[in-house]
């Protein structure tokens, strides 16, 4: 094996932030080399330097022993480096061929030769066992297919070193398996793959070697056979972490939320975003909702919190039918909501923490009378929440936008839990957070459950749902595929349901 890529002493400094500091990386030809690290460890920055989007502040990049310098992505591409970004860089209104040809400059030909390009794509797809129709519109493809288009796009442009940035975040377990097969067939054909991830099991499965990054620095490069998942976790976080969680066993108590035949027509009314949803959440129970993003989870939460008007059905919580109430009425009757996107709907970023803390309840008499806020009460309340939930901030006057993602999420959780709800709807409560913050938030959620609150937990992370939930419902295209207990199911079964196979059918054929 020969060294195909070397990064030497790379530093990348953004105004006020050191993203990479003295990073050295050596990659062999034909290997799958993983960059492992928490969010903010500097993996993506390093790869953006490699693919020409950023310029390293100092340091050297060598390709096959020769030093190179990139001033744009085109330079990196010309030398054979292709990156598949975490958020796909595709244009949904264009076809696969058109997407592959954007920015391509072969010769000085003015005319677009779609036909030749389509043939080329077809051949590439065949060679690496991917099925792709070059003339399909990208907008009509599934997430897994779009990822294949991204890989084909990189190959089409002559990439020999392929960077995959968190490629499995949006895939079902089956699609992940397909992706891994693709990666294996690529490396056996002499391609080199740089794989970015923070999912330990996947790293263990696909990598040859792994380089662990922490706080912008390299902690070390290891052969994958020499490490256990727990070693990797320790290196990544810098301390021991507890992957298990303690919980009280609980007697099943009364039904808190009962959803029956909830249906929501999509805009235009041709299809259904939610189709005949029936669910129950008991007090002291976590009902997890799993599924690939965009299968009706956010519509379900929107209907339950009064943000969207359901077409038909009912959802009873206490004496209320949630589908017929305003959001404020729902929120003031003991429901709390951790929204899916903390920066857009969870917090008002340019406002202080203090203001964000009372966002739900500012109008209540305890916070002031006659339309005036009682500053003393608000101050005490904010200080208490900051202290109780360990929000790392200089003061209650800090703007929400200046906090890290984990601390922003803590602010939301503090606000919602401190309202003493009976039912908590939490959507993607840990999305994009690092292991430490995830651990904290999981603990808080289980604490709430143990104290007798009903929780509806929506998440796309299978591990999270399996770990926290008492029961798991899987959604696919607006329907419930089945409800299972984590102890009585397997990742394979959940994966099949996430891919659209109803539980009854899976168990019948098994």
């Amino acid at each position: 094996m020969s060294t195909v890529l070397e990064m030497k002493h790379i530093c990348k400094v953004f105004p006020g932030v050191v993203a990479n500091s003295d990073v050295c990386l050596q990659v062999e030809k034909g290997e799958v080399h993983t960059l492992l690290g928490e969010n903010g460890a500097g993996k993506s920055t390093l790869m953006n330097c490699l693919c020409g989007l950023y310029r390293p502040t100092s340091g050297e990049i060598l390709i096959e022993g020769k030093p190179v310098e990139f001033s744009s992505a085109r330079d990196a591409m010309a030398i054979g480096i292709g990156m598949v970004h975490q958020h796909f860089m595709l244009i949904p209104t264009m076809t696969v061929v058109e997407n592959c040809l954007i920015g391509a400059h072969d010769g000085n030909k003015m005319r677009l030769d779609l036909k030749t390009a389509a043939d080329h794509i077809r051949k590439l797809a065949e060679k690496y066992h991917m099925s792709i129709d070059p003339n399909a519109k990208v907008g009509d493809l599934s997430v897994g297919e779009r990822q294949r288009v991204e890989i084909i796009k990189a190959l089409f442009r002559g990439a020999r070193i392929l960077i995959l940035d968190e490629p499995t975040a949006v895939l079902t377990p089956q699609e992940t398996e397909e992706l891994f097969n693709m990666i294996r067939s690529l490396t056996s054909n002499g391609f080199t793959v740089l794989f970015i991830s923070h999912k330990l099991n996947e790293v263990k499965e696909i990598s040859d070697r792994v380089t662990v990054l922490r706080l912008g620095r390299v902690c070390g490069t290891y052969n994958i056979q020499d490490c256990e998942a727990s070693d990797l976790a320790r290196m990544m976080v810098g301390r021991d972490i507890d992957l298990s969680i303690e919980r009280k066993t609980q007697q099943r108590s009364e039904v808190l939320l009962s959803i029956s035949h909830l249906t929501l027509d999509s805009e235009g009314g041709k299809t259904r975003d939610l189709d005949d949803i029936c669910l129950e959440v008991h007090a002291g129970e976590i009902l997890g909702i799993a599924g690939v993003d965009g299968n009706g989870q956010s519509e379900l939460v929107d209907c339950l919190t009064g943000l969207k008007k359901a077409t038909s059905g009912s959802a009873h919580f206490k004496e209320l039918d949630l589908l017929k109430c305003s959001t404020r009425k729902i929120m003031s009757h003991g429901l709390s909501h951790i929204p899916q996107d903390r920066q857009h709907t969870g917090l008002i970023m340019p406002m202080t923490l203090m203001e964000n803390f009372i966002l739900q309840d500012y109008y209540r008499p305890e916070f002031g009378k006659f339309g005036m806020l009682d500053q003393k009460v608000v101050n005490e309340y904010s200080n208490r929440l900051i202290h109780d939930f360990g929000v790392k901030t200089p003061s209650r006057f800090e703007l929400a936008q200046n906090l890290s993602g984990g601390n922003q999420q803590k602010v939301i959780i503090a606000r919602e839990i401190s309202r003493n709800p009976d039912l908590l709807v939490a959507m993607h409560p840990t999305r994009g957070l690092d292991v430490g913050a995830i651990e904290y938030i999981h603990k808080k959620i289980v604490e709430q459950r143990d104290s007798g609150i009903g929780i509806l937990l929506v998440s796309t992370e299978i591990e999270e749902v399996m770990k926290l939930s008492d029961r798991v419902a899987v959604m696919y295209e607006g329907r419930i595929m089945g409800i299972v207990k984590p102890s009585e199911t397997s990742v394979e079964e959940l994966g099949l349901m996430m891919g659209g196979m109803p539980l009854t059918q899976i168990r019948k054929s098994a």
């Binding site: 744009s72 990156m83 860089m89 244009i91 040809l101 954007i102 391509a104 400059h105």
Partner: protein, 308 residues
């Protein structure tokens, strides 16, 4: 028979009136597809109407006047691009400012250069030129083939623009910038340069439309003579579903309103003339309200792109 020749006459007028609208629409399309929302076409056209007259007056050639107008369009485009692309100012606000600038600048310069007098200087203007054989086709030959040269150029630009946008590498890159500038950036396209070029070239085409108004449709400049065509062109792009052929159709339909108004006016109908002159504008509103929903605009239209 008589009606047919009258109708052919109306068609000829419609085509001529549609020309500035078509040019402005094509110019706007280039920018829109690169993600730039420019509501300043009205102002750009106003400046061009004056510059065309100035150019023609001093050089004695309407074609040089046209070049003058296009140069003024390029300058206005450069200003717009600097403010919206480099400084990332709000595109709608800058567009509104360009309109105010166009209105004020054209009126002021006009009074400085020509003074306030009732005498209209004679300048070189576009003349009809017949295309042999084709213009001899009965009834409609003259409507289509006895027009001013710029009319032919404008309508020829429809297939040319279409070919450029949908069948060349550069056109694909431009559309990619409007749909997803970050993706375009990762693929090595210089987003800023693409937007600058599309704004400058687009503004030059818009300016051609303005020039035709003062040296083709009429024979001299008058204040506010564009009278909303820059805005109707915005509507034409949407009604035309961001396609050159669609914009051509929209321009013809919208201007048919003006022709109909004129015809009714001439026939001394009972309708007050104020209502008749409203026709093209009302038609624009109705058509937009009916069809706007089905037009899909570029995903990143009107949003400034920031690298890194």
């Amino acid at each position: 028979m008589e009606f047919l020749s009258t109708f052919a006459g109306w068609t000829a007028t419609d085509i001529r009136l549609a020309t500035p609208l078509l040019l402005a629409g094509l110019g706007l399309l280039l920018m829109n597809l690169a993600g730039i929302l420019n509501i300043g076409a009205e102002g750009t056209m106003l400046i061009a109407t004056l510059m065309a007259v100035v150019g023609s007056y001093y050089t004695g050639s309407v074609w040089l006047g046209m070049l003058f107008a296009m140069a003024s369009g390029a300058l206005v485009g450069l200003l717009f691009a600097f403010l919206t692309v480099t400084l990332r100012a709000n595109q709608v606000v800058v567009g509104a400012a360009v309109n105010i600038l166009g209105s004020g600048l054209s009126a002021t310069l006009f009074r400085i250069l020509f003074g306030v007098s009732a005498n209209v200087p004679l300048i070189d203007v576009f003349e009809n030129c017949s295309i042999p054989v084709l213009s001899d086709i009965p009834f409609f030959g003259e409507a289509f083939f006895r027009q001013m040269p710029l009319v032919y150029i404008a309508f020829l630009m429809v297939p040319l623009t279409s070919y450029y946008l949908f069948h060349t590498q550069s056109g694909l890159n431009l559309r990619a910038v409007g749909e997803n500038p970050r993706a375009a950036d990762t693929l090595g396209i210089n987003v800023y340069r693409t937007q600058y070029l599309s704004i400058i070239v687009g503004s030059m085409i818009i300016a051609m439309g303005g020039a035709f108004m003062s040296t083709g449709l009429t024979k001299f400049f008058s204040e506010e003579m564009v009278s909303g065509r820059g805005f109707i062109a915005l509507a034409a792009v949407i009604f035309g579903r961001y396609k050159p052929s669609g914009i051509m159709l929209a321009a013809i339909v919208f201007m048919a309103g003006t022709v109909a108004g004129n015809v009714l006016l001439a026939s001394s109908s009972q309708i007050p003339y104020q209502f008749l002159t409203m026709l093209p504008y009302i038609l624009t509103i109705v058509v937009l309200a009916t069809f706007a929903k089905s037009a899909v605009s570029p995903a990143e239209l009107g949003k400034a792109y920031k690298r890194g």
